[in-house]
């Protein structure tokens, strides 16, 4: 195996980032880049070998962040340039300040970077980071009637599309961790499917069942190491412990060793015994699992305020839980969002779907105190039911909201003030999931899966610059079918 591939695939080189939840799908932190140099690789390998001996890699590196936003507030300002200069002088490296001057990353944060950052801040631009490594968007497509699900790969630079239909089960979402791309096949399939996105055919490397029965409804995958991961079962009460090595095509063809155990979360469930476990992230060595606590047999209305289970991954046991103010944290953010600088895990959702447009919103959990910071913005302030969001920084987010009148809107949100600051898209009619997903890359490009497929509409991927919230794409990029889910990957 080539070194570069080893960096991407082999556990020792990737698990540091695997555990980084949100960071995995976007920004590759600097250490990962170092693996391409011999010294760095040796250093990293020795560290990883030691950690592998333990079997777990629990400390995430820096999470996703906007390039140039050293303060993690969601904006690129002159103070960020100053902070970059201070770090440069002190010899501290911060990938967010390592501005791309056209020659790639030099793994150094220099005064020149701070100057470039200052220029960008003054001009109101989002600079491009040299450390930014995502090169392509992987787009899961779902047909109008959700009877087929395909995969498209879109080049960041050329915007060329490579598409293969029928790749996934009809109800699927994407996850990318450690440079690997997974399809999480949900209700009716309950499997994890790894994709070789480097192959022209976007072929499947292997697919393994993680079923706990018909209703188990696999919802999320979190890899903790090369040997261990967690899988949520939305319709069950057991958090599954999986061995990702079974996904190796050369090993365990029948995936008999894929599911190695489970953690009972029924104690955190509502009266029906099913906690509706949804998405996960790892922060400060603990795994956070959102529990929607819906009434399973009542068309899923919230049974009350939701919870976040805190799992000790070393003991595979429940370490506690955080009671939320929010009901039904449904927003499919492709894993819970964790901002290390803020020390917060973000969750969001509509609350009572379409019955109460004022409830729901975005809430943050303090990782250090294992307590809720409360709603940062409510459904009333958003103007409807929240179905997806991305956090740019501690002060800024983008949200997809369904309004009472039926339209879907894409909004810029001030998380500190708890108000909407801008509207980027408004769908013409509520007859489909017009805005199925949004995803933000480190260069400040907001990718939108726009599904409105009606006469007069142009469905596809629309890209916005969050520097001024302007649309970059002249017309939507059609990925082969209607886009449903977006993640970013690095092509080796």
């Amino acid at each position: 195996m080539k070194n570069s591939e080893a960096c991407r695939r082999k556990p020792g080189n990737t698990t540091v980032h695997v555990a980084a939840s949100r960071s995995i799908k976007t920004l590759r932190p600097k250490p990962a880049r170092l693996c391409c140099s011999l010294a760095a690789r040796l250093l990293l390998l020795s560290t990883l070998l030691a950690l592998n001996a333990v079997g777990l890699l629990l400390q995430p590196t820096a999470a996703w962040a906007l390039c140039g936003d050293l303060s993690s507030d969601g904006f690129v300002t002159s103070s960020d340039a100053l902070a970059a200069l201070q770090k440069a002088v002190a010899g501290n490296y911060d990938a967010r300040g390592d501005i791309d001057s056209g020659s790639g990353s030099d793994s150094l944060l220099l005064a020149g970077d701070a100057l470039a950052l200052l220029k960008a801040a003054v001009a109101g631009n989002i600079p491009a980071c040299a450390a930014a490594r995502a090169t392509h968007a992987a787009v899961l497509t779902a047909s109008f009637r959700f009877d087929a699900s395909g995969l498209a790969l879109i080049d960041f630079d050329s915007l060329e599309v490579r598409f293969r239909g029928g790749v996934f089960h009809r109800d699927s979402v994407l996850r990318t961790q450690g440079g690997r791309l997974f399809g999480v096949n949900r209700l009716g399939a309950n499997s994890i499917q790894e994709i070789d996105f480097t192959s022209p055919e976007l072929s499947t490397l292997k697919e393994c069942s993680v079923s706990g029965g018909f209703g188990s409804n696999t919802h999320d995958l979190l890899l903790l190491s090369a040997q261990k991961g967690y899988v949520t079962a939305y319709g069950g009460s057991e958090l599954l412990i999986v061995d990702p090595r079974s996904l190796d095509p050369e090993v365990d063809p029948a995936c008999a060793g894929m599911v190695t155990g489970s953690i009972d979360l029924s104690a955190l469930a509502d009266a029906d015994g099913i906690p509706e476990m949804d998405q996960m992230t790892i922060a400060e060595g603990q795994v956070f699992v959102s529990l929607q606590t819906l009434v399973h047999s009542d068309f899923f209305p919230p049974a009350g305020a939701a919870r976040v289970a805190v799992i000790d991954p070393q003991r595979d046991s429940v370490a506690g839980f955080v009671q939320l103010e929010l009901e039904n944290p449904f927003a499919e953010t492709k894993g819970l969002i964790y901002l290390p600088d803020a020390g917060l895990v973000y969750l969001g959702g509509p609350g009572q779907t379409f019955l109460d447009f004022d409830d729901g919103g975005i809430e943050a959990v303090d990782v250090a105190t294992l307590s809720s910071k409360g709603l940062l913005i409510s459904g009333a302030e958003l103007g409807g039911d929240l179905f997806d969001f991305v956090v740019v920084g501690s002060r800024r987010a983008y949200a997809v909201v369904a309004e009472p009148g039926g339209a879907n809107v894409l909004l810029e949100v001030d998380l500190e003030a708890g108000r909407v600051t801008d509207e980027l898209i408004r769908s013409s009619a509520l007859v489909d999931i017009p805005i199925a997903d949004i995803e933000l890359n480190e260069d400040g490009k907001l990718w939108v899966a726009f599904r409105e497929d009606l006469p007069g509409s142009r469905p596809g991927i629309r890209i916005f610059s969050i520097a001024d919230n302007s649309e970059i794409t002249d017309e939507p990029i059609f990925p082969g079918d209607l886009p449903f889910n977006i993640v970013f990957v690095e092509m080796p």
Binding site: S143, F144, R145, F146, D147, A148, S149, G150, G165, G166, V167, F168, H169, R170, G188, A189, N190, S191, Q193, T204, K206, E207, C208, S209, S211, G212, G213, F214, G215, S216, G235, G236, S237, P253, A254, C255, A271, G273, V295, S297, D298, F299, F300, P301, T353, F354, L355, F387, S428, A429, L430, V431, D432, I433, D453, L454, P455, G456, P459, L482
Partner: protein, 839 residues
């Protein structure tokens, strides 16, 4: 969207007008012409050109026929004026002369393309209605696994909701969900099935959108029958029936009392040629009862892919679980004649079924179950001359769908179907009153009118045990409908041309009452809809035995309640939803021929059809957990149908058909234009060959369904989005070991053990065997399976069915008879063709 849709709607209406108006004008001209030239045609000479030499009707017979006729001229000629076909025993001991059981003619319509299946001519003892229908040309059975599992019908590529299924003329399509589960129809009680492809016959007042299938239950014949079947997967079936004649009859000369009723009743149930309903001149009564009990464990083995389609290494062979089905069907019918010759018929059809719902193959649901109860009561009155019929029907449907939660220690015990409720109770009550009148005008016109008023109420409740069984949602949806149809069938003898005109107008009023206590209260709403749809049919008797037919008609399919007013939680209301609409066109020919030298007779039919549908209703997701029905798609399905029915006096008969259909998605939605419609096989073929030697018979059957896509964008090369072609072989051997009363049938289904999943991807059973022992005692000693076709020796009266006209005479189409008789074709009187004779 809606502005564009309005424009499309306007365009659609213009196109329909453009397509229909010339046809209507042409047919009106033809009708006028026919009226002008009618008087000369009333001469017996002119009439004789059509009918005889062998059976020249007397001039007196013409008005008689006209007066009797509910049939249009051509149909009336076929039924009343034409020589009746009598099938005689060849006397060879073998089953030579047994006719095939699928006819291309119906007494209900002379221009449309029809298939009439005589289900009493069964070659298999454990066949279902769905399996039998799937062997018909243009018909596709869409099943979800085993024979007792949910299955629907598609005809000429139309959605199942566009196929109207009638049971003895009573519609089974309900407003809540217009799809009919065809596996809930008991085969043993069925006598005949009529399939009207691409149109609604005038005998059915309320239209079917695309096609109509009329299933007619057993009409007696003074028989006592019983059968017992057992087979694979714990399958067992017991059926028993009795027909009694009570009191005397004054016509027909037979205590059976049914022999003369062939022309009698084409009553509102749409069942043409019923043989046992009371003849207009009889004064007796008739009682029939038929009971079927059936069960199956459904625990067949299948390949479980574990939901990992791309990884065959983890596949394993598993048994289907929670797939048990038990059902009971009771049919009661009482007919009596009253003074003046009119008759009443009271019928009661009760069906109960309890079945498990295992869901998909991987991760089967272990506890979900469905309990169904259906009761249809019907009272009909026919005037003595059969020109007026009135019928009242009451239908009650009850469904109890349970998906219990199991909180046992075993996680797998929690397996559920995934429904968002634990239990749902759905009740539908429907009442309808209909009347039908036929009025001959001269000898060559038959004006027919029909009226139907109906009321339907759907009530749905869902439960959750966590709420102590409290009803937390009740929905109440109501539909009133009115349908009027008028038609004229004209026979223009100089050109051997029949013209059928129909105009149907239907109005619907829908009302929805929401439950304010529901956690998902939908808005109260109402909706009204009306549609007028014409039809033109032509039939040209080009030469003896050769007929050309052409039809064009428009249709509409009103939205179901669930589409209009939303479902219990997921689907939001869209009262502005428009009906699906479209135009069906077909043209084809029928050729009936025979060879006295080869002692062979055949019917061949070829049809080209082209159906356009617009505003197809599709349920789309509006958010992660909400869906809404919208008008979006247009589609075109065009294709070719080829049928062959042949039989010889040597006891060999062949039935074969092939359907090739190309579907085009005309949707403007992304990636769909020009694609095939999902779930629609582009090719289907069926063949059946029977060797009948009297005391034994051997039947071999093959069925082929082509590879097709399951997704709307036709993703190539993915096992997730296509179903491979499927070829199955069935074989059955029937013995009469003791006498003609007893019969033993052994059959093997899916001989090749094909495990290709069905159209929805549900696992299907592999090879299966069944054994059936049956006993039949008819008043005239007719055998259960041969009573229809092998009547008593020469000199004896024909069996009731045979004397009943073209429908029951099976392959001897009225058209063929008409042509042969008209030209004095020697075949029919050829002694070598010993099985046929002119009465």
């Amino acid at each position: 969207m809606f502005d564009a849709a309005a424009q499309r709607e306007a365009g659609r209406r213009l196109r329909i007008r453009a397509a229909m108006e010339p046809a209507i004008l042409l047919s009106l001209c033809c009708a006028l012409l026919a009226l002008l030239i009618e008087p000369p045609l009333l001469s017996s000479a002119a009439y004789a050109v059509v009918i005889s030499p062998p059976a020249v009707p007397s001039p007196a017979a013409v008005p008689s026929a006209a007066a009797s006729g509910r049939m249009a001229p051509l149909r009336r000629l076929a039924q009343a004026e034409l020589p009746t076909i009598v099938v005689e025993d060849s006397g060879q001991g073998a089953g030579g002369g047994r006719l095939h059981r699928r006819s291309m003619e119906s007494a209900e319509d002379s221009t449309g393309f029809v298939e009439v299946i005589d289900t009493r001519e069964v070659w298999r003892g454990f066949e279902t209605v769905g399996e039998l229908l799937s062997q018909s040309v243009g018909v596709q059975l869409k099943s979800m696994g085993a024979r007792d599992d949910f299955a629907t019908l598609s005809v000429r590529g139309a959605p199942s909701s566009q196929v109207k299924i009638l049971l003895d003329g009573v519609s089974l399509n309900r407003a809540q969900n217009q799809v009919v589960n065809i596996s809930d129809l008991p085969m043993d009680a069925v006598e005949r099935i009529e399939i009207y492809r691409g149109f609604t016959p005038i005998s059915v007042t309320s239209s079917g959108a695309s096609s109509v299938v009329n299933i007619i239950t057993r009409r007696g014949g003074d028989r006592t029958t019983a059968s017992l079947s057992y087979g694979s997967f714990g399958s067992a079936k017991l059926s028993a029936g009795i027909d009694l004649t009570l009191g005397s009859t004054t016509s027909g000369g037979s205590s059976a009392g049914s022999n003369q009723s062939a022309e009698a009743d084409t009553a509102l149930d749409g069942s043409s040629g019923d043989i046992d309903d009371i003849n207009a001149t009889s004064h007796g009564s008739r009682f029939s009862a038929f009971l079927t009990l059936k069960r199956s464990d459904g625990d067949f083995e299948f390949v479980d892919d574990k939901g990992t389609v791309t990884n065959p290494d983890d596949d394993s062979v598993e048994k289907r679980r929670n797939n048990k089905a038990e059902s009971a069907d009771l049919l009661l019918r009482y007919s009596t004649a009253v003074a003046g010759g009119s008759s009443f018929t009271l019928s009661q059809q009760l069906f109960y079924k309890d079945e498990g719902l295992p869901g998909l193959g991987s991760d089967q649901s272990l506890h979900a179950a469905l309990e169904s109860l259906r009761n249809i009561s019907s009272l009909s009155w026919n005037s003595a001359d059969k020109t007026l019929a009135i019928e009242a029907d009451a239908t009650f449907l009850h469904q109890d769908l349970s998906d219990p939660r199991k909180n046992g220690p075993d996680e797998s015990d929690r397996s559920r179907l995934g429904l968002p409720y634990e239990r749902a109770l759905n009740d539908t009550t429907a009442l309808s009153l209909s009347a039908r009148r036929s009025k001959p005008v001269g000898a060559y016109h038959l004006l027919e009118t029909g009226f139907e008023g109906a009321w339907e109420l759907f009530e749905g409740d869902t439960f959750d045990s966590l709420r102590q069984g409290e009803k937390w949602q009740r929905i109440n949806q109501e539909r009133n409908s009115l349908a009027i149809v008028a038609g004229d069938e004209i026979w223009m003898a100089p050109w051997n041309l029949a013209v059928a005109l129909q105009l149907r107008h239907e109005r619907l009023w829908n009302r929805f009452n929401a439950d304010p206590s529901s956690p998902f209260p939908s808005e109260d709403g109402s909706n009204r809809e009306s549609s007028t749809n014409p039809r033109l049919g032509l039939r040209w008797e080009a030469m003896p035995g050769l007929s050309l037919k052409a039809n064009v008609s428009s249709y509409f399919r009103p939205p179901a309640f669930g589409e209009l007013f939303g479902d219990q939680g997921f689907s939001v209301a869209n009262p502005g939803l428009r009906s699906e609409s479209g135009i069906n066109r077909d043209v084809g020919l029928m050729w009936s021929g025979n060879s006295s030298r080869a002692r062979l007779r055949w019917d061949i039919e070829y049809v080209y059809f082209n159906n356009d549908s617009e505003d197809t209703i599709v349920v789309v997701q509006t958010s992660s957990r909400k869906a809404k029905a919208v008008n979006v798609d247009d589609a075109r399905v065009r294709g070719h149908e080829l049928r062959l029915e042949a039989s010889s006096q040597t006891g060999i008969s062949l039935s074969a058909n092939y359907t090739k259909q190309d579907s085009f998605n005309l949707s403007r939605l992304a990636g769909q234009w020009g694609k095939e419609l999902p779930g629609l096989a582009p090719e289907e073929a069926h063949t059946m060959i029977v060797f009948d030697r009297g005391s034994w018979s051997l039947a071999y059957e093959t069925e082929f369904t082509g590879k097709h896509f399951t997704d709307i964008i036709n993703t190539p090369g993915s096992a997730r989005t296509s179903i491979d072609s499927r070829l199955t072989h069935n074989i059955s051997l029937t013995l009469s070991p003791f006498d003609s009363h007893w019969q033993i049938t052994a059959e093997v289904e899916n001989l090749g053990d094909s495990l290709v999943p069905d159209v929805f991807g549900f696992p299907v059973p592999g090879r299966a065997w069944y054994l059936t022992v049956s006993y039949a005692l008819a008043a005239e000693e007719s055998h259960l399976t041969t009573a229809r076709m092998r009547s008593q020796g020469s000199g004896k009266s024909a069996s009731p069915a045979v004397s009943s006209g073209p429908v029951l005479a099976g392959p001897v189409s009225s058209n063929a008879v008409l042509g042969n008789a008209a030209l004095g074709n020697p075949v029919l009187s050829d002694p070598a063709f010993a099985g046929l004779a002119i009465r």
